[in-house]
Symmetry: C2
Subunit: 191 residues, 2 copies
Amino acid sequence: MPTNRDRRDRLADAGLALLAREGARGVTYRALEGEAGLPAGTTSNYYRSRDELLGDLARRVFERLAPDQDSPADEEPPHADGTVTSYMLALHERLEDRADVYRALLELRLESARRPEVRRRVETVLRDGFEADVAFHESRGLPGGRRAVRLLHLAMAGLMLERLTVSAAMADTDVEQTVAELVECLVPEPG
Amino acid sequence: MPTNRDRRDRLADAGLALLAREGARGVTYRALEGEAGLPAGTTSNYYRSRDELLGDLARRVFERLAPDQDSPADEEPPHADGTVTSYMLALHERLEDRADVYRALLELRLESARRPEVRRRVETVLRDGFEADVAFHESRGLPGGRRAVRLLHLAMAGLMLERLTVSAAMADTDVEQTVAELVECLVPEPG
């Protein structure tokens, strides 16, 4: 029997699918319940408002984009030799594999620019994610600290925007080579 | 008396405002004519399809984001000392000033991921824009060539996404300093 958490995640996953397919305006309670195959009225059992729902979708994005701890294939991705480049290549691969989830995050970002209450919630999730990345970087003894993580974040966000929407700067360019070039430029050599 | 071109640009500007405010699903012919204050039916005099309209909105984005050639303030922006950093700071300032136009471009990018016909049109405009940037960079004798312009494009896109939606990596960080750091890392010193 599904737990409350399972049902909430099923609603949230339906919300992410709708965001990617229809944009933020497509996320109505009715569409959500239809997409999730759950009875009408389910959504309001889990969320007090549409803003709360959209904030929870940001939380769910990060669960869906995280490396899958249970999967041996993800625990040791082909690039994971412990260098910054290997982590960025693994990240890139994960985001390409879960393109719709990443596109849903872009929709949540744009909806945040329109709705202060959504922004407040999405911002909390994104900042926690950034702090977790800084902590991970430092815990692995990788060089450059917060500044390097920040610059990499910006560049990888631009790269994924190109890869998952329209490619202009990346046209006819090898993506793995570009990831390696970005790391080489933005992260100092380990001393 | 307004020319055809004036009217088309008025429709396109209304489309960009709608994109920023409502997302791609908000761009209907009726909403467009209402926003532009033009009679019902005007849109179909200028565009044969909604996809053609959305492609033309991409063209209009680049007109709206270009430095204004007629304005002395823009001809000599405060940062324009001819270095890459000065051009990137001027670009950043222009995009912040025209935040809704840039957000409309992000909406067009996401709609492109959903609709191949929109993608084809938006891609043409974005690639022409990138080629123009490479040509500008080289014509000014700036260092690093196409590769430097590409890496800068990616990083500046990530930075603007943070600045104009939700700030995570950029929280509590000086934007002008970050622009300077990106250029310092991504563009080789002029030899």
